[in-house]
Subunit: 340 residues, 2 copies
DNA sequence: GGATTACTCGTACGCGTGTTCGAATAGTGG
DNA sequence: CCACTATTCGAACACGCGTACGAGTAATCC
């Protein structure tokens, strides 16, 4: 691998001069030397060693992002927003998938810190795990105390900057819609119990239930993975355990699509016999049949705002900035009035 | 930021000893010292500087990946496979989105090289751009000549290791299916003209046409972006230019979904009046209505195989390894016999 | 008891680059 | 022709860490 010294030798100059030319330093350099050096760079296909550069000028440029799974459309959308702002600021983004493994999440934070990233963005739900939360918090604090910036998306347990979607309100909107349509026996197809996203969304559904004089017994909540297959199997469980239900609220869109697939397989009409709702308003939600009634979260925008926060200079003693992001009901064809 | 020297000072040992303990060196260290050092690490929340580490032991660990857009399900799926194998080998993956900008693609290759990655995986279609291809090739050669590993997914212009999906065969399968159903006037909703993926898939369709004594005039090919909206607008163009068509072959699933949306909006029944096919068999293809007839590419598997190739030690003088990946027709409800 | 060995630990250097500081050269005015 | 300044360039060091080598000490054997 060609090194700066190689380039300098070949151009017959000192490494210092070569460095100045390559990095466009403010120091002046003669045109003749500049050409010689650039020619040498081209011939040797020289690329400066980024590690040596970052070591030399302790200048943090990259930004780290930890998501559950970037191939999950939910995180893909958030990542899109993160990337956009990062690119605008000429930052490289390092993406790490935790696959919802808290242990791996901690490891990645250390790894990103080791890579001297300027900021760390943690995207995804929090965990109901006191010990993990504590450990993660202390790691982020330590990172911030050395000048790093930490921003979380959608978890409320970190006492720093955050972009928080109103999951509770989203759940409430869906619940209110279903109760308004006359449904009283509502089933929930939920994501992993351990995630705060799951419990927050259920909490919203419960609040809607209370306001309409209804209840949401645990028997009518089935848990599964936050994907299509998880939705299908949870729906199967739910139909067996509570066959009286006339509506199913799935806690994200992929799960809702799984629910639709299962109902179709069982010959149950949607929304004729059972209404179905999703959550997040993924692009797909428009294209399934029936098109999903769901709640929209501005995911790409959330990512963009998180990255914007992350790239702002830290201000000592400033209150942590918390950006609340609203949820918005999107009515489509998968919900209908209570069948008689 | 705490440094190794800080830890050593606090533990009352030399930096060398601290390094040995932290990295689990084979050299023996007394238990008492080990505890003192680990305690210091904990107290100072010390994380070794990855750049300094990588500079010191010129050991390349990370792997770089350049895709068009990771939030595109096509690349999300490939990335999933890449990540899986990388994680199994304890490698960090750096993902870069080129957004189909050749210039950015070159920049990212340099950036990854600068970061001393052990391998670079270029995923995505090639471009019909002689100059770009040449430049990229010389960059990859230079990288490989210094011990780096380069693997491309789906472009045939790089003379190195590659995982190549049989796009031409996929196009052929779809064309053969449509002609077998009796269609003769087939329209194509194609991706960007500049991409080899687009032209390869069209080539397959053309071969099928020839074998059935038909032609595929340029008038019946509409180009657009490789996404839902591109599909919808290309379909609109196509319907205006060639209203006689009874089948539309979209060159990827998102475009096909856009086609379906447009046909639905215009009240045209699928497959009653017009048959539609997709390409790639994204998970969504099952869930739209009607479910898409398409061609399956084992995307995650392609990613996994590419990463496996990338992590293999380079062998001098070995023939470049080219893994061909087959395409498989998936019949669903969006295609039917020619309406009379 | 002395010498040899085994075992630990510390000192010093190299990784590739950015940057400071001083030296050398050219240029200009008197 | 000399002196002074402006302008460039190079030598040397710092960045944080891994590690070869050597020094120091305790243990063992004769």
């Amino acid at each position: 691998m060609a090194t700066l010294a190689d380039v300098a030798r070949r151009a017959g100059v000192s490494p210092a001069t070569a460095s100045r030319i390559i990095n466009g330093s403010s120091k002046p350099v003669t045109e003749a030397l500049r050409e010689r050096v650039l020619a040498a760079v081209e011939e040797l296909q020289y690329v400066p060693n980024a590690h040596a550069q970052l070591l030399a000028r302790s200048h943090r440029s990259a930004v780290g992002v930890v998501v559950h799974d970037v191939s999950d459309p939910y995180f893909a959308e958030i990542t899109r927003g993160l990337q956009r702002v990062a690119t605008e600021n000429e930052r490289l983004v390092i993406i790490c998938n935790s696959y919802r493994d808290p242990e791996k999440e901690l490891q990645y934070v250390e790894l990103l810190r080791a890579h001297q990233v300027a900021a760390i963005v943690l995207a995804g739900s929090g965990y109901h795990d006191e010990k993990f939360t504590e450990t993660m918090n202390s790691k982020l604090r330590a990172y911030e105390s050395t000048g790093g910036r930490a921003v979380v998306i959608g978890r409320h347990d970190h006492a720093g900057d955050a972009v928080v979607p109103d999951n509770e309100m989203g759940g409430y909107l869906l619940g209110a819609e279903l109760y308004a349509l006359g449904h009283t026996e509502i089933g929930v197809v939920a994501g992993p119990k351990l995630l705060t996203t799951t419990t927050d969304r259920i909490a919203g559904l419960r609040r809607a239930a209370r306001e309409h004089g209804q209840k949401l017994p645990a028997r009518r909540v089935a848990y599964g993975d936050f994907d299509r297959d998880g939705g299908a199997s949870a729906a199967a469980t739910l139909l067996d355990a509570a066959p009286e239900i006339t509506a199913i609220a799935a806690l994200n869109d992929p799960m809702a699509i799984g629910v639709l697939a299962l109902l179709r397989a069982r010959g149950i009409d949607v929304p004729g016999q059972i209404s179905v709702t999703g959550f997040d308003d993924m692009p797909v939600a428009r294209d399934v049949t029936p098109a999903l009634t769901t709640v929209r979260l501005p995911l790409a925008d959330m990512g963009a705002r998180a990255m914007t926060l992350a790239l702002q200079e830290p201000v000592d003693g400033r209150e942590p900035r918390i950006e609340e992001v609203g949820a918005e009901l999107v009515r489509r064809e998968s919900t209908g009035p209570l069948p008689r």
